[in-house]
């Protein structure tokens, strides 16, 4: 079904701007709402509109090629432009869809986790975060990227800190995240500054053109590249720069964790792709060196290291957080190989992992909601007390491991194939080892949940207490989506693989026309 045909004319023309303006405006309004119900309804409604417009714009892009919007009618090199192309459209859909999914879940969860007075501001911060993430992805102006990065980051610090009414450690984690996030953003903006010095422009397409003319530019652009890589690396939790992530994921409100895990690092990864392949180019020797030695190497180290860390965690949410760092390693590995196939595989894994992790964190949130548990040891008997939640967790867990007929299998196989085809045979071994480690850390939880009996309270076994429907629906949507991708039901796999291939061919400029750089 082509949604773009049903959308009003102005949405198609002004759509890119609408995606940013709507949540920004509504955030300001939502912040002053008195009741939580009204705030929830508004936010959910906004995210629903965002999903519809993002899908419509993506379909429009698919049909008509890239969509460039000029803010205020100023033409690109001087004015600010927004762009929707094959690379950004799927990420836009992903962000808005995950926002909607977690919002459905949020109604009961927020009630339990956030103090009544703070609920409206909480939703406002959430909307701001969405606006920031969408803005990062859609803008074509390098400095604008920094602005939106900060919009999303600062609202995220607030969101993480709001978890403090559930667990006071949220405050320390938010503070850590704030410091490190600011360092990252600063590095990033320093890089942009150097780049501006070299090229004299902030428009991405323009920068790319000038850098190509200069054949990579002087040392200034090299330094700029270094700063940008480290700044983004921090945001996307590249291996040694991931220390902020476990705390932030573990103690944030459960909805925020699910949303962040599936979108924030993904948006940063998108920026990494955009900067490395679009503004800079792997043709420059220094970019190539960074890809091969740094991104690829750290990807592999992160895969193994973070998976080992995940195995020994006692807290299930920290375990999944470390697993996220490991999964980012897979994507970095695909990016580092830098062939069309490997980029496509990394992009596919990006989307699949967002779905899988979203489902897993939603399930964990429901378990906390019902029983107040986060520790792995407390999972005993959950298969009997929360069968449906545990079912969704199991499916997503299998997908995380990469069991055949799940989404994780599709992208991991694609990644392994592209690694082998790219000449990195030994990297396939690391992918296998890391998958085995994933079997261990997911299996550990499943063993406890399925093979141990529920705890006894006052001499009686704990009774069944299933999560409410509004929590079950989103997590099962994620679980079933991951199965649908794995088995190509309704062509789900074809759609995603097609989108990733389009994105990858756009990045390497191989087949798809209109690369813009």
């Amino acid at each position: 079904m082509d949604l773009s045909l049903y959308m009003p004319e102005w949405l198609v023309t002004h759509g890119p701007a609408f995606l940013i303006v709507l949540p920004l405006l509504m955030a300001a309004i939502t912040a002053v709402f008195p009741g939580r119900k009204l705030a929830w309804w508004t936010t959910t409604f906004v995210t629903l509109i965002l999903v519809l417009s993002a899908v419509a714009l993506a379909q429009f892009e698919l049909a008509n090629g890239m969509d460039v919007y000029q803010m205020g009618g100023w033409a690109p090199p001087h004015g600010i432009s927004l762009k929707i192309d094959a690379l950004s459209a799927p990420v836009l859909v992903l962000i808005s869809a995950m926002a909607l999914v977690t919002m459905i879940y949020a109604m009961p969860a927020t009630l339990a986790e956030i103090e009544p007075k703070k609920r409206a501001p909480y939703y406002a911060a959430f909307l701001l975060c969405i606006a920031g993430l969408l803005g990062m992805v859609v803008t074509e102006d390098a400095f604008n990227v920094f602005v939106f990065l900060e919009v999303s980051s600062i609202s995220t610090y607030v969101l993480v800190a709001l978890g403090s009414s559930r667990d006071r450690r949220a405050l320390v984690s938010a503070y850590n995240y704030l410091i490190l996030g600011s360092i990252g953003a600063t590095f990033f903006v320093i890089g942009i500054g150097f780049l501006y010095m070299e090229t004299g422009t902030l428009n991405m397409a323009d920068m790319a053109r000038i850098l190509t003319e200069l054949n990579g530019g002087s040392r200034v652009s090299m330094v700029a590249f270094g700063f940008i890589i480290v700044g983004l690396g921090l945001k996307l939790a590249m291996f040694p720069l991931h220390t902020w992530l476990p705390g932030a994921y573990a103690y944030a409100p459960t909805q925020v964790t699910a949303f962040l895990a599936s979108t924030a690092t993904k948006a940063a990864l998108y920026l990494l792709l955009r900067f490395t392949f679009f503004i800079f180019s792997p043709d420059f020797a220094y970019v190539d060196a960074v890809l091969v030695f740094l991104i690829f190497g750290l990807g592999i180290v992160g895969m193994i290291f973070a998976s080992l860390q995940a195995i020994f965690q006692t807290d299930a949410r920290r375990m999944l957080a470390y697993s996220s760092v490991g999964q980012v390693g897979y994507m970095l590995l695909g990016i580092g190989i830098a062939t069309t196939a490997s980029l496509s595989a990394a992009y596919l894994h990006l989307i699949n992992h967002a779905v899988i992790k979203g489902g897993l964190f939603l399930a964990l949130g429901a378990m906390w909601y019902r029983f107040g548990i986060t520790r792995v040891d407390d999972f005993r008997g959950l298969s009997k007390t929360m069968p449906w939640t545990m079912g969704a967790f199991t499916l997503c867990g299998f997908s995380l491991i990469g069991v055949p007929f799940t989404a994780g299998f599709v992208s991991k196989v694609a990644l392994a194939q592209s690694a082998a085809a790219g000449g990195y045979w030994w990297a396939v071994g690391f992918i296998m080892v890391s998958s085995i480690l994933a079997v261990i850390y997911v299996g550990r939880v499943l063993m406890v949940a399925y093979f141990r009996s529920p705890p006894e309270i006052d001499g009686k076994p704990c009774v069944k207490n299933e999560a409410p429907l509004r929590m079950l629906v989103p997590m099962w949507a994620m679980a079933l989506l991951s199965i649908a991708v794995g088995m190509n039901i309704f062509g789900a796999s074809d759609i995603l693989v097609g989108a990733s291939e389009r994105a990858a061919s756009l990045l390497t400029g191989t087949t798809f026309p209109g690369t813009g750089g």
Binding site: M222, Y286, L294, F312
Partner: protein
């Protein structure tokens, strides 16, 4: 839409078996199972007849499975005989087992029969392999129904047959590779190593010398009906495969000749009559293997005919001993004797079977065995001919005389039992009738000829010199038996189990295995201790590094990560400057 004419008829028998296996086990339901047991072979036989009447070379059910073309149904002159034969044997066995109320026997007998039928009608080596294994797996239950003492024998039986299947598959793959991926099952020959593997696989299943032990081990230990059913299919299936794949391969002449001779000695001293019959079965198979080795129309037709009548008279002998065992509870020669008073019909039928196997004129094997011998003479194979002649006398000795003599005559054991149940008598009479009809000099043996697949000048068995020669041979054997008996030289019936070359694995092999397993246990223990210790250390190190309190995963204050960021920037810049320029 399922087209009856495109599906291997054996599959319907297997299906009937599966239905029987799943049928609820309450009083009265065994009648329904019996209906299946009788009807399924008739139905399959009728289907084969229909298919054969469409065209003489009937090939259907071609499937393409992963790049391999499978021909699941092929009815030509050769497979037709075996198809009819197995359906007929299934029917006789079904009647023989009517009195039994055992679900396992019924269903595994049906599946086993079906697998054998489907196997001989298979047109490619993969399908052949599948049913080859299925016959082994389904029939082992018949061995196990023999009781506690049959358990180990059943396991040995299963292991050997599954192994033979594995060899067959390995050989088939190699043969197909040498032919460029063609899995059709036709003449194979010994030009490739795969051919050798396949011949050994078939050799195991039809009891080549030194590969034969499973037969004398498992058959006598199975249940009464079990033995009858077992003796009908497995080995004849293997003979079919040999006839199809190795016609005229010289080495088979000698293998077959040895195979006819050596069981004679064991059969003569053996006490358990079912074991005697198992040895004589082995010796009969020798004639067929030898005939296949000789090759040519006369020998091959002889083999086909011999197989056909062999299943009938061997079944008859096993059935009569089974009937005796059913009434008396034993098949030991030392505990039987004088039963002709109590079981006269069984005695007569047993004598017909014994006469058939010994190739008395007017009885079944007379025609077919003569064809094989004549073929050997035509080829001037004097030594094999002499060996087979000796074996013929031997057959007369142990199957023709010993079995009926010690059971129904000899010294009276004093047992007074009832005649065999009616259904056993019906089954045996059917077989006995066929023994006579198929060798009837005035139009009887031509029936058998009409089934034979190869064109030849009709062989005339009832010539004066042939009849006289055969009678001389047989009476000489009887004379020798009497003489030996008279002077007390003939080995007396003793209670003992004879272990021939299977001593290698049942005694020596067992002890070696026990010793190895003891040593293995010790080794395992030590290795376990070592690995546990070293793995434990590694695990502890990992835990110390990565656990929440470990050095690598501590919740660090923001200072350290900030330094890390700076460090990463440094590394990045070094990479850019040093490696990137």
């Amino acid at each position: 839409m399922i087209d009856l004419m495109n599906i291997n008829p054996g599959l319907w028998i297997i299906l009937a078996g599966l239905i029987c296996a799943l049928f609820p086990k309450t009083d009265g339901t065994h009648y329904i199972r019996k209906v299946f047991l009788i009807a399924a072979p008739i139905f399959a036989g009728w289907l084969i007849f229909q298919m054969h009447s469409v065209e003489p070379e009937y090939i259907r059910g071609v499937l393409n499975f992963g790049g391999i073309e499978l021909t699941t149904l092929r009815i030509d002159g050769l497979s037709l005989v075996w198809g009819y034969l197995f359906c007929l044997a299934g029917l006789i066995n079904g009647i023989y087992g009517l009195h039994e109320k055992c679900r396992i026997t019924d269903s595994s007998a049906l599946i086993y029969t079906g697998a054998a039928v489907a196997g001989v009608l298979a047109g490619d080596m993969i399908t052949l392999f599948i049913f080859w294994e299925l016959t082994a797996i389904s029939s082992v239950f018949l061995v196990w129904k023999g009781g506690e003492h049959a358990y180990a024998a059943g396991l040995r039986y299963l292991a050997i047959h599954v192994f033979s299947g594995v060899l067959l598959l390995a050989g088939a793959v190699m043969v197909a590779q040498s032919r460029g991926g063609d899995f059709t099952f036709n003449f194979i020959g010994l030009n490739t190593p795969g051919g050798w593997l396949m011949m050994i696989a078939m050799g195991i299943k039809c009891g080549f010398p030194l590969l034969h032990n499973w037969m004398q081990d498992a058959y006598p230990k199975a249940s009464i009906t079990g033995t009858v059913i077992l003796a009908s299919f497995t080995t004849k299936f293997a003979i079919y495969a040999l006839a199809r794949g190795f016609e005229g391969v010289d080495i088979l002449i000698w293998i077959g000749a040895i195979m006819t001779c050596f069981p004679v000695f064991f059969a003569v001293v053996e006490n358990d009559l079912r074991r005697v019959l198992a040895y004589s079965l082995n010796n009969q198979l020798g004639f067929m293997v030898c005939g296949i080795g000789i090759g040519g129309a006369l020998a091959m037709n002889g083999v086909v005919g011999q197989v056909f009548v062999h299943v009938i008279f061997k079944g008859l002998l096993f059935m009569s001993i089974g009937a005796v065992m059913y009434r008396t509870g034993t098949a030991k020669a030392s505990e039987l004797g004088g039963l002709f008073r109590s079981m006269p019909f069984t005695a007569v039928l047993c004598l017909i079977g014994a006469g058939s196997i010994a190739a008395f004129p007017l009885l079944a094997a007379f025609v077919t065995k003569a064809m094989i011998l004549a073929a050997a003479l035509e080829e001037h194979l004097w030594v094999p001919f002499a060996m087979m002649l000796f074996a013929s006398a031997g057959v007369m000795e142990h199957s023709g005389i010993k079995v009926p003599h010690f059971t129904f005559f000899a010294h009276d054991s004093g047992r007074r039992v009832k005649e065999a149940p009616w259904n056993m008598l019906v089954a045996m009479s059917l077989a006995g009738l066929l023994c006579i009809v198929l060798a009837w000099p005035w139009g009887g043996y031509e029936l058998l000829y009409s089934l034979m697949p190869f064109e030849m000048e009709a062989y005339k068995p009832y010539t004066w010199d042939h009849v006289v020669f055969q009678l001389q041979l047989l009476f000489a054997a009887i004379f020798a038996f009497t003489l030996l008996k008279r002077f007390g030289v003939y080995p007396a019936e003793r209670r003992a189990e004879i272990i021939d070359s299977d001593w290698l694995y049942r005694r020596l092999g067992l002890n070696v295995a026990l010793w190895t397993s003891a040593m293995w246990d010790r080794l395992n223990f030590q290795v376990n201790r070592l690995t546990k210790r070293s793995l434990g250390q590694v695990g502890q190190k990992l835990y110390q590094m990565f656990s929440p309190a470990g050095t690598m995963s501590e919740a660090a204050p923001s200072g350290l990560p900030a330094v890390l960021v700076a460090g990463t920037l440094l590394v990045t810049l070094i990479v850019i400057y040093v490696l990137g320029t």
